[in-house]
């Protein structure tokens, strides 16, 4: 830069920039965008309020009806059990899949392959009807003696079949989410833990998992929310969850739109709560990132 031999003075005493006022950059197009969106939103709300087809009185009558509340409870129950059991099994499957033993790894891979291949609805109907396939379930040596045996019907109720199906299905996806989180953790972390002689299980629980949670959580939240709405699939088994219940009611009174809105608003409320929860859990696991 100095090779040209001349240096131009950049600033002098009577040209002090720090004394000048600052004018922020203006964004007129942003205001156009805001106006556009506001007009659209106003029209939408106007339509909701004034169009009698939405049938808000019916909505109000059913929104907190006992039958609907019970159905919401069932939906939450299915989501909670599907998530907890699904992720518990998913962690096991992920660990199998990442095992150094080729056999165990193949077992994990096969599980994920199988349960991702079978449509959830098929799987649910299969569990629902398993008592036709096997009247009795027993634990024992193949071709040899049985130790314990159960009536399938008494062991697997429709609700049990629903939870089982959702959890097994969820586990396959959870396993891949957990695995993606674990492989995103820097190898050096495991090396440091190994160099310190920290036992294997503790390495996983204390070092790898908390860091993996950072990338597991957004995906897991997606899964929980999608499972939460996915529970509507079990309506094929005549289980009284939210979606089944509104179908039953509008089957009787033909107020389809109002009752679908009842279900929709409940799904929105609960998803919102889950999203808020997600925010706080994520913030907890990001604690090492704060400055």
């Amino acid at each position: 830069m100095t090779s040209s031999g001349t240096l131009t003075p950049v600033s002098t005493k009577d040209d002090d920039l720090s004394a000048l006022p600052v004018v922020p950059a203006r964004h007129p197009w942003r205001w156009v965008g805001v106006a556009f969106v506001l007009v659209l939103a106003a029209q939408f709300v106007h339509g909701l309020v004034t169009n009698p087809a939405w049938d808000w009185p019916t909505f109000a009558r059913y929104f907190t009806a006992q039958s609907i509340l019970t159905a919401v409870g069932t939906t939450i129950f299915l989501t909670v059990f599907g998530t907890v059991l699904g992720f518990a099994l998913g962690i096991v499957v992920a660990v199998l899949r990442m095992s150094k033993s080729p056999f165990l790894s193949a077992v994990g891979w096969t599980y994920i392959w199988a349960f991702r291949s079978i449509p959830l609805i098929v799987q649910l109907l299969f569990w629902f009807n398993i008592s036709y396939l096997y009247q009795r379930l027993s634990l024992g040596i193949p071709f040899g003696p049985e130790f314990v045996s159960f009536e399938t019907i008494s062991l697997i109720s429709p609700m049990g079949a629903a939870v089982l199906g959702l959890a097994l299905h969820q586990a396959a996806y959870a396993a891949e989410i957990v695995r993606s989180g674990v492989i995103s953790v820097d190898r050096g972390q495991l090396e440091a833990a190994a160099a310190l002689g920290i036992p294997r299980f503790r390495q996983f629980r204390r070092i790898v998992l908390p860091q993996a949670m950072r990338s597991i959580l957004p995906n897991a939240a997606n899964e929980v929310i999608s499972l939460f709405k996915g529970t509507s699939v079990v309506s094929v088994m005549a289980i009284g969850e939210l979606f089944y219940q509104v179908q039953v009611i509008y089957g009787r009174n033909a107020r389809v739109v109002a009752l679908l809105m009842v279900a929709t608003v409940w799904y929105i409320i609960l998803t919102t709560l889950l999203s808020i929860g997600q925010h706080y859990v994520e913030r907890y696991f990001a604690r090492g990132d704060r400055r």
């Binding site: 050096g188 440091a192 704060r290």
Partner: protein
Amino acid sequence: MIEVLGVHKSFGSLEVLRGVSLNVAAGEVVVVLGPSGSGKSTLLRTINHLEKVNRGYITIDGELIGYRRRGGKLHELKEREILKQRKDIGFVFQNFNLFPHLTALENIAEVAELSDARHFLERVGLVDKASAYPRQLSGGQQQRVAIARALATRPKVVLFDEPTSALDPELVGEVLDVLRDLARSGTTMVVVTHEIGFAREVADRIVFMDDGVIVEEGPPEQVLDHPVHERTRAFLSKVL
């Protein structure tokens, strides 16, 4: 204290260590020098069994690392037993490898009692940073926490793999101060570094490696000022 005997190590067809033997006495400080790719890191990593050797063996305080001798055969140890052996071998990484989700104190408390952990933080002069997360610390402070953590298992030897080469120049000094302190207190240390001045001042012995073998070794004055080997001379003329 450390005995490395005839160690060979290959990655695929690349032979990285080609018969390395090294003895380190208790309380001795050995500095390993050598050009990039000469196998210094690999040597350190075989000592705590992060890498398995293909031939030769390593003992720490007379205990065979990674194997058990039984009936004329070497049996591989279970991972659990290897992890236990590693408590005797502290390892400090070039890029610290602190656990980012744990505070400085928690990083150390992962392998020590809380009161001990505090003591080791004090030893590297960082008690006031006990509740800071690694990202809130400077590189030099992070490496000092990593050193405290490596000491917290009360190892018999401590291995350092280029502990200052990820640091800005003005932060190198504080880490070398800690190393100097350890050396003075009689810690058995093997240090891979490019800090020749530090090597001259602190090392009891300097080992020069090139191309997977130890080319020459001896006290600092001898190796640094009157190197016998052509390759040592060539290396020193570049770094001095």
